[in-house]
């Protein structure tokens, strides 16, 4: 599983960070950083929730 963020869409609402802080981090510069591009499979439900609740639909999962 690979987490892909479309940075042209991302507006750093940080919803993903609220759901999966192990993977997504919005830092003080207000930009989103992906901490684990290939998170373990057991995190899939959380990542899917982050995909669904992203207000900009900026996150997708490959694989």
């Amino acid at each position: 599983m690979k987490v892909v963020v479309d940075y042209d869409l991302c507006e750093s609402n940080a919803v993903c960070m609220g759901i999966a802080p192990e993977v997504f981090e919005v830092r003080d510069d207000d930009f989103l950083y992906v901490l684990q591009e290939n998170p373990p499979e057991e995190m899939r439900p959380k990542i899917e929730e982050a995909v669904r609740r992203c207000p900009k639909q900026a996150i997708s999962i490959e694989g």
């Binding site: 750093s12 609402n13 940080a14 919803v15 960070m17 609220g18 003080d28 207000d30 207000p55």
Partner: protein, 408 residues
Amino acid sequence: MVLDTVLIVGGSLAGLNAAETLRQEGFGGTIAVVDGEPQIPHDRPPLSKQVLSGAWPPEKATLPGANADLDLTWHLGRRATAVDLAHHRVTLDDGSSLNGEALVIATGATPRRLPWMDGVGGVHVLRTLADCLAIRDRLEAGASRVVVVGAGFIGAEVAATCRERGCEVTIVEALPVPLERALGPRMGPLVADLHRDHGVEVRTGTMVDGVATGDDGDVTGVVLAGGEVLPADLVVVGIGVAPATGWLDGSGLDLDDGVLVDANLWAAPGVVVAGDIARFPSRRFGAVLRVEHWENAIQMGQHAARTLLAEAAGADLGALDPFDPVPWFWSDQYDRKIQLAGRSGADHEVEVVIGSTDERRFVALYGKDGVVRGVLGWNRPRHVMQLRHLVDDAVAWADGLAEARALA
């Protein structure tokens, strides 16, 4: 009960998330979705921003679930006019009817209108894609003097988008403080200040009497109480919405500013309700709430679908986790991102804990009854998310202030 067909009335964010969750949870029957708009449902937040500004083509705002392989039977451009709850039968505006074993009510809300609006060219509300495109067309045809009636979030976002397109913009708000209900009396005025910084005239405590029109029936101005006329070639009225419950009159459902549901969004056997139309009991806030936020629609759609499936499986609904998340919304205006997790109110304490209101980049906490009730951020998305749990855990006010200040 065997569930073969689920009818979803209202295919926007809440209805579509209910459909998606039904499929994710393995429901293999028919899902019929009725929606009053003629096209596959759109995400609404971009309608006051990216689509209105012209930065996005409308297709870019299509809800992703609408294109997903959910095997939905769409009834687009059709409105429900009546319901028979006992038989889960919905009558549509073309006289046809649909039957199922379960019903998801998600018809949302419709914008409130003012009596002088009807039939006047260039006067709009903003809720649907058609509304958005009508306003955009007007701007592209050269409208340059815009009056926004109502300083709520929709009005404020429309004002910002029009201002960024180079229009002269005036916001007229009847209340003395804009956004007082959403942000409280101390934080609400900051939104007016933000707009004034960008050259928008903000007139609070000002009532509108009507419009002036030209020979062609198009708006030429907004008439204020007292007689002053604000010249305008485009007027957008954003004075809130009313839940779209008209088709449920006489159904037996408990209608009171929305459809009253229980803690699992259940309203009657095989009937659940989600989105802007649902009024649910929140234990967390000790109140019955109707929440009009984007994220709430997603979460309610998910929860309502699970409630239906649990009921069909014969589960004890009282044993399910109740629906009671911390509400959250955002509003983008100019280069500011305003976010609120939890709630605020005129009777809440409020304290800025990170940054300052002068730099328009800060976090403020709202408190009531000795606990943290809300976290407001202006361009502080990270901190809002980190502090959202203060509301979730009802952290004591002093402890919440200390934790928030430690992040600064």
